[in-house]
Structure formats: structure tokens, C-alpha cells
Amino acid sequence: MITIRDAYKSFNGNQVLKGLSLEIREGEMFALIGRSGLGKSVLLKHIIGLMRPDKGEIFVDDQNICSLRGTQLVAIRQKFGYLFQEGALFDSMTVFENVAFPLREKTAMKESEIRERVSPELEHMGLKNDAHKYPAELSGGMRKRTSLARAMIMQPSIMLFDEPTTGLDPIIGQSILNYIQLCHRRLGFTGIIVTHDVPRVFSIVQKIAMMDDGRIIINGTYDEIIGQGNPAFQQFLSGSIEGPLHYV
């Protein structure tokens, strides 16, 4: 379970998180939506301990990640998988090497065992014939799938997805969401998807939260939120400039 309590964060005087609180239950798929540049990715980096809040607490499985250092932080990070917006693939490594990297670094598995584990994952992601390619030779969708395979290879219990479908055409975008759903069914992780891909993402999540002005302004299931008729949510869905959410 992930619990964020009253988190504040500012960068050079710009307050990004303003007392944000949120709770995500174990095994739940959660969509975090909101306007661009208002701190959704920053929140993900707080959850995984890459950034620390100026004030507030973030609990991951009852451990306050903000107070962890050294080996404790390393240990808790092993629970996580992270899909970066741009993939963050190691450009000096092939697709296979990228996906095998966490196994080579964090386990004592033999090369043959690594191959046995990586090959089905690549096949599962439709990358079987691209294992020898370097990231520069891949399309955007292939890069995302490689990154997804790398994030999933350690079978994490918590997955963070930072805009998994941004920059992809609708068909590839949908295929990525399908992969995420498939992986969730297979591994049962707790997942947070930061995305603008609405309403498509709603089909693969149980709960949705909307972030604005450094806080969570809407939180609930799709039906609950629609039932509330929240104007900010309606505006975000329709992409209208007019409404309570101001153009930044």
C-alpha cells in the first residue's frame, strides 16, 4: 500500500506539491491525471524516493520512504518497477541487454537462466525479433515495450508508469495499455499510471485521481467521479479551455 500524507515540494520558489495526500491500495491500478507540468511525474519520483518532499510523509508498505537511506532505500526500491516517459533505455545496450540488465546486476542468475527468463518476456512484448537492436534503431512503441519489459523483468510488486502512451499513435498506445493490463493480471502489482490518455486509460484502472494546483482535487472510481459530475473532470475529458481548470 502507498500512502502520501500532506506532501509539500517546491523548486526554486515554485510550489509544486501543496499538501498532497493520496492512498493507493495493494494490487490496485490507479490513474493519476491532470494538466501538464503540474507535478505528476514529480510525485512519482517522490514515491520511489528519487526526490524527497520538503514536508510530509510517503509510506510504501508501512515504511516511510522519506526517512530511508542507503541499503534500506535500495531494498525498498527493489519492490518497484518504473516505466519512464522517454523509456530511459541504456543506449549502449541492445534490447536484450537492457531487459537482462536488472537480472545481471541484482541476481546471481547464470547467463542461461537469464536467457530463459528474458526471451519469453521479449516474446510476450512482441520484441522477439528485435532483441539484437539498439534503442536508436527502435520505434517509439518498441522503445516503450522494451522499457516495460525491463521494468517487469524483476516482477515488481509496485509499478509506476510515467505517461506510457505519450507520443504514440492511438493503436500502439492501446497496445501498450493492453500490455500493462496483461502484466497487471499476470503479476498483480500495485500500479500508478500518470497519463493524459483519457478516457482510454479508464478501462484498465480501478481508481482515478486528478491533480491540480499541487493537490488531489478528485479521487474515486470512474463511476463515482462521473456520478459527481465534477466540472474540472468534465473539462479535462472534453479538453475545453473554458472551465475551472486554467490554461497554464
Binding site: 535500495v74 526500491r77 530511459a88 533505455l89
Partner: protein, 257 residues
């Protein structure tokens, strides 16, 4: 006016102190991971190939021509007082104690140091370093330490190659071109060159290897965002490394004499 001047000076002084502190912490953290965890031998070997093996041709080429031109100049000076017999030891001592370590370090900085800073810088701006951290792989252990070890291993070897080929270049010019006898060139060399001269060259190369890898890794690791940031980090890493090589060279030489 006066107060704002003082304030500006104070701010600059604090900025410089902060920078030194940051460099110091970076080196200490690297040492912590170097001595506190098993070395990633495969990564070290990869970086020795990158920093050392791939710099060999350029180092040999510059070493040969440095030795040749140095022999020409020294011969010209020595003929002024009839000291041509000292050509061999002069070339050898200068190369072993000074030119070999310094010039090879400058050449490696230009070729490998800049590439190192830009590679780590690109890894920073494309979130590859964040990806390492998220995968619970320590970036210092994976990126910085292997580069430092590889540089400390490669620099003395390349410095030795530089001096060796330079002495051979001096031999070509002095003996084959200018007519100094072979026996005099090498005989006088073995009379004048002592073990401490060779040790001095090795110590210098070791310290240059540490300085260059430290500065280049630091600049790459803390690259600011965008292509401009990487370009700036690369340029600064080469300039700072080169200047530090020359400054440190002066201090270490003056201590040893």
C-alpha cells in the same frame, strides 16, 4: 555600493566553497564505493579499452613526434656549448619526468575525457542514471568507480608508451639524422636516468588519471539539462582537467625536486 560589493564577494566565495565541497563529496562517495563494495571487473575492463586501448594510437603518434622535435631542439641548444653527448639523457629525462605523463594525459583528456563527460551527461539528461537508481544499481559503483579505476590503470601505461616511443623518436632524429653515436645516446641515458625519474613519471600519470576521471565524471554526472548542458559539461571537463593537470604537475614536481 560598498555593501553590495561585499555581498557579491561573499556570494562568490560561498559559491566556490560549495563547488569544492561538491567535488570533494563526489570523490569521497566514489572512494566509498571503490573500497566498500566489490569492483565491477567487466565494467573496468570495458572502460580500460575505452580510455586506454583506444587512445594508444594517438598517444604513440604524438609521443613519436614529440620525441623527434624535442631531439631537434635540444640538439640545437646543446651544440651551442658542445654538449651533444647529453642528447640522450636530456630527451629521456624530459620525457620520463615531464612530457610523457603530461602530454599523454592531455591527449587522453581530449579524446577519452570529453567522451566520458558527454556519455555520462547524456545518461543524466535521458534519465538513464535515474533508471539505474530505480533499479537499485548504485550509479557511482556502476559508472564512476570503473572509469576512475580504468583511468588510473591506463594513464601510467599510456604515459610509459609515450615516453618510450618519444625516446625512440629522439633516437631516430639524434642518431640517424643528426649523427650522434648510438652508444653515446643510450650510454649517457643509462648513466643519468635513475629509477626515481621513472617513478616520478608513474606517480604523475597515476594522479593525472585520478584528476581527469574525477573531473570528467563529475561534470557528466551533474550535467544541466539539454544538449547545451552536455556541450557545456564536455567543454568544461576538458578545460578544467587540462588546467588541473598543469597546475598539479607544477606542485608535484616542485615537491619532488
Amino acid at each position: 555600493m560598498f555593501i553590495s560589493c561585499i555581498r557579491g564577494l561573499g556570494r562568490s566565495a560561498l559559491g566556490v566553497l560549495e563547488m569544492f565541497g561538491s567535488y570533494g563529496m563526489f570523490l569521497l562517495t566514489a572512494f566509498f564505493w571503490l573500497f566498500g563494495s566489490p569492483l565491477k571487473l567487466r565494467r573496468v575492463l570495458e572502460q580500460i579499452i575505452f580510455i586506454g586501448v583506444k587512445s594508444t594510437v594517438i598517444v604513440l603518434l604524438t609521443g613519436a613526434f614529440t620525441g623527434m622535435v624535442f631531439a631537434l631542439q635540444v640538439y640545437y641548444a646543446l651544440t651551442k656549448f658542445g654538449g651533444e653527448a647529453l642528447l640522450g639523457p636530456t630527451v629521456a629525462l624530459s620525457l620520463l619526468r615531464e612530457l610523457g605523463p603530461v602530454l599523454s594525459a592531455l591527449m587522453i583528456t581530449g579524446r577519452a575525457g570529453s567522451a566520458l563527460a558527454s556519455e555520462i551527461g547524456i545518461m543524466r539528461i535521458t534519465e538513464q542514471i535515474d533508471a539505474l537508481e530505480i533499479m537499485a544499481v548504485n550509479p557511482y559503483r556502476y559508472l564512476v568507480v570503473p572509469n576512475m579505476v580504468a583511468a588510473v590503470v591506463s594513464f601510467p601505461l599510456l604515459g610509459a608508451f609515450f615516453s618510450m616511443i618519444g625516446i625512440w623518436g629522439g633516437y631516430l632524429v639524434g642518431v640517424k639524422l643528426l649523427g650522434v653515436s648510438e652508444g653515446t645516446y643510450f650510454g649517457e641515458m643509462s648513466n643519468f636516468v635513475e629509477m626515481k625519474d621513472i617513478t616520478m613519471g608513474i606517480i604523475k600519470s597515476l594522479s593525472f588519471g585520478l584528476i581527469v576521471s574525477w573531473v570528467c565524471c563529475y561534470k557528466g554526472y551533474f550535467t544541466e539539462f539539454g544538449a547545451k548542458g552536455v556541450g557545456k559539461a564536455t567543454t568544461q571537463s576538458v578545460v578544467i582537467s587540462s588546467v588541473l593537470i598543469l597546475i598539479w604537475d607544477y606542485f608535484i614536481t616542485s615537491i619532488s625536486l
